[in-house]
Symmetry: D2
Subunit: 367 residues, 4 copies
């Protein structure tokens, strides 16, 4: 993980600003021979595309991805894959106020402090548009995972918006793609729509919690101490714009458990392999996958660009009040769902390659 790169062997570097000519991802270290094409990546990009419903920014971007390198006759060659998404809806407008004042709760001020200049057009590099590049790269990772670990699947969904949490008793995965919130609960979807409509009309925004689950992950991915699978998952999710907290398994609530409750007891399953009776650990013990579902959650803070005036200062050092006009998501967490899935895919592929690098992918026998 360096400035704009993550991953050890499967490495993704994203580049580009919201209102520059293009943005994208340079993907290095992909296994060779994996079938990948633009349509396959576009499928995932379309899921986070803006303007799909009234709960996401009304910016109209096709977010069309082009593959500029690294493929030959439809297969990865093992060399870098360049994924480019051209910016097409850079609405010409007056950036005057945002150019001069720092949105409170936004990276405007820290970019200025660190770099001495900032690309204020649409948030520049700090725009949520950067996550489109992650989703495209995640599409490559998913294709490689599909080839290497056939049964693996990754599913993300919202579990909380503002004060509203899903009712786990009503969990229904088939609902996830059927509502604008990727929420696995039809009733919650209806209630959340009302809630968010009200917030949006009042010129406000709200935070959310997203859960991403990977099933079919082999035991043995990760490594102790710093190369932990959960260390990299935490870093990957925390690197997404606006994320302020990351949990594995029971997460922060693990503090409330006793050792008796926390122990995920083990039996021998019908297949002769370890069968865990619970999953407080979220599928990771000592930094290494157990073979259970990997469960990660992350909290996304509310969009800082809102129509309600907030007190702030200008580059010139004057105090002012600022309203952020423009096409902003009332809950940026919604579009973070496919982004979280993409990060999960990238981390799992990277650790799969790391593991077979060090151990050859051979597992210690039980029984």
């Amino acid at each position: 993980m360096s400035l704009n790169t993550f991953g050890h062997l499967f490495r993704v570097t994203t580049w580009g600003e919201s209102h520059g000519p293009a943005l994208g991802a340079t993907v290095d270290g992909c296994p060779p021979g994996v079938a990948v094409d633009e349509a396959m990546l576009q499928h995932w990009l379309d899921q986070r595309k803006p303007g799909q419903n009234k709960y996401t920014t009304q910016r109209q971007e096709p977010d069309r991805v082009r593959i500029l390198s690294g493929l030959f006759e439809g297969r990865t060659t093992g060399t870098p894959i360049q994924l480019m998404i051209e910016n097409t809806d850079q609405r010409s407008k007056d950036y005057g106020e945002i150019a001069q004042a720092f949105r409170p709760g936004h990276a405007d001020i820290t970019y200025h402090q660190k770099y001495g200049l900032r690309d204020y057009r649409g948030g520049g590099r700090s725009s949520a548009r950067e996550t489109a590049a992650r989703v495209a790269a995640g599409g490559v990772a998913r294709a490689a995972l599909a080839a290497l670990v056939p049964g693996l699947s990754i599913t993300g969904y919202m579990v909380q918006i503002g004060p509203h949490r899903i009712d786990r008793a009503r969990f229904d995965a088939t609902q996830i793609p059927l509502n604008p919130f990727w929420v696995p609960d039809a009733q919650a979807a209806t209630e959340w729509a009302d809630y968010l409509d009200g917030l949006r009309k009042s010129g406000n925004s709200v935070g959310a919690v997203i859960e991403v689950v990977a099933s079919g992950v082999p035991a043995g991915l990760g490594a102790p101490v710093y190369g932990k699978l959960d260390t990299d998952l935490a870093a990957a999710m925390m690197s997404i714009n606006a994320v302020k907290g990351v949990e594995i398994g029971d997460g922060m609530a693990a503090a409330m458990l006793t050792g008796v409750d926390n122990a995920d007891e083990i039996r021998i399953g019908n297949d002769g392999q370890p069968l865990f009776l619970s999953n407080h650990a979220g599928g990771i013990l000592g930094g290494i996958s157990t073979g259970q579902e990997i469960v990660v959650r992350f909290a996304v803070k509310p969009t800082s660009s809102i129509l309600t005036p907030r007190r702030t200062i200008t580059v010139a050092g004057a105090e002012t009040d600022l309203i952020t006009k423009g096409r902003h998501d009332p809950c940026v967490g919604i579009r973070a769902v496919p982004v979280g899935e993409a990060m999960m895919a990238c981390v799992l592929l990277d650790h799969l390659l790391l593991d077979r690098g060090q151990t050859g992918g051979i597992r210690g026998q039980i029984g």
Copy 2:
């Protein structure tokens, strides 16, 4: 961050097992000319030393650190600093049961699955003893920070144990070193002692939440996208044994905020510099420090080695019940406080060096 190394320019690699001859940290990239000696590091190590009270393991280890390289006439030379702690209390005993069975909730099983063998003596590499090396390395980082950023301070403390949270209204930093829990609240210390005594006697253990705050951190540390200061803090804290969740600022609760509440409004302070009116962001916006306090929390799950029998399996594939005898912490979170501080110190120094590498440490002007 690779298998056993973290940091970009200030890099720490820890090594060693609980019951091997020694463990330690190889620290590379330290600025030259920093005054460091063994006593300075020992000060921090003594804080996490086992056997100090009845709430931590009764293992008697002096945890004496030796500096084997990288110093000349009491100052760092810019070359690797080797910190070694010899293991002296490796009680000879029969490891039979632990050698054959996997403690549920512990890394025993995943080490076996990944590597095909494991050092079961005292948990081997997965022992909490590994964190002694982090604390020693953190001592070096603190010394360098003291030289480079005189006003910077780092304070860790417990804010929750099991269901018991501190009352922020009673927050009193002077209490932190006066009780065995590093809790900033004398009343909580008394109540927690009773609670933990009960748990310990019942052969159980419990989780905790630790908060670490750094004040005096300059604005401008960190970088957008993957080299975020919060990305590295999340990774650093998640890499500590038994940690299951990490929060920056409001953390998971950011999901409950609206944009109006979340905006840390800005005024011009008496010094002509930005003055933030709140700190929901925990001192980091867009991955870059704002100059406010950096606030990080992490949850530690309960110790998995408990005296209450739990169902598990053996290496041979048999089902069994397991009681873990031995000298285990009823709340491993207590000793995680100095570890969290050490990780904070390492990450901040690393980002300070990264920042002056890329930008020269020059800050954009306001006003």
Copy 3:
């Protein structure tokens, strides 16, 4: 240095194949505030452009570089700079023979062995076109160096082609840009032209040695042991296509020196600073720059695509003879001159940033 990335803080990842839609470089970690524009980069690209004279490939490519990100109002923002060069002269042709047979002395066979497939069109990723991306990235590094170290200059030139070496007594730097060989010796330029004409007409090719000198480099760049300045220079030059040897200072001839001769004796110069009386070391001692000229040389093997038939095998395992038709450089070393300069620029900038990261750029005093 990972698969397609080099550099520690100033990191360059090149991507793209000879006959794909485009190739380029993703440049991360550049200091902010540096004036860069496309014309500035194009200046350097034009130096390695094919088709400029009869000694380089007749492929007609404008090699026009576009900057897709990382700039704002003509200055670097500190975020990734994406440099893209579209491939325009992908002559449609039958690749049949090259697709089936491996050119001896070429990467054809090793790509096939490693990846199981290869992009045979124009050599794919192994084409010398990849070096265009390096030259573009080097242009960014030069701009940053110009801002940070005003007096620094980098000059590359050929010192040998086949058996013909330059006469150091006739060294005239003003000749370098005046002949197609970048040779600092007008007489050699004439002789080499005759020599290369003969070779080219006979369907043959030849190797070369390039020397790159950097002057005005501050003392103190580099680090002992593995982060040596010469380690990174050796890696950078060896990574260029077809390079088989790298020398610093006296290089391989250092083996012939005695200690008496090798000692670059030191006096105090008129400026009160160390004055070295010779430079056998090539400006680097113990991996760290002395302040003298940095002198690097590298040998480029002859182009393996030649019109003379050579024995080889096919993918199907049949023995065959192969002639490589097409537009190939008779001495690929010629166009390696600007590439070597670019690599020097990237390594020096990277080490400048590394040094000010670790030490703050403060130098130990003498006198």
Copy 4:
């Protein structure tokens, strides 16, 4: 490769100074289950031990290696292996002159310039003693290679000392361990002994060229562009103290070849696999191993610590003449032979792990 670390997956960090308490290597990423013990590593260390004959320093060090971590019941566990060598012959002496003056041709001055201080006792970190740690780490790499690639062997030897080169026609590998120069030519051994005796008595020293050959290396190790096998070999060898040039295959002489001569022609061997008719490439094409012998050479400059007075300056800025007394190798190249072998072993293992990480170690079929 960072300051004191090399390798991607198999990572070695060396630490320690000549006259500190100890030096060593922290080895991370080793495959699990490899049989390793101290005697196995000591075997290689004994080869570079000082004081074995009159051509190496008379310092008497047992160079006894201890393994402090990473093993369990004689096998690697996949966690860091700490190798420590205590310094025992730190002759108490007056360092006055060396403490104040910079040896010309030595890192003394650059350490002072960069770090502002230096450990002048025995050269501190820049001492050739650092290479003992490399040899120990190389022993671990050899053990892992032996387990993973049974037929692989690595052989280093001297091919040149001062003006004297071996006669390839007399090459006899059985001679290598029989003479103090590791030279594969009994007659050369005799002649070189006379030559070096004369030099030593005259208070002088001399350079050398070492060749290291690895046979039985599978095809497919390495990667194009920056992750080339030859890039990492060049870096590894250049990082050894006093090395000034590195060659792969024909090396610098590749400049003299024509394309016709350089083409290593290919036939189908009796085993149905590619059979190369020559090896100008040194076993690497396009950065990837061909399955032929890997051939690397490097030049070591003469020891800079000599008994002949040389002009230099002091820390205080005064001009002076300096004689370096003490126990110095007249040709430090001799002891570089086992060091070059160790670096070859580390690089090959690292690339073996990298390759099976990315590709699974599956090779493209021919025929």
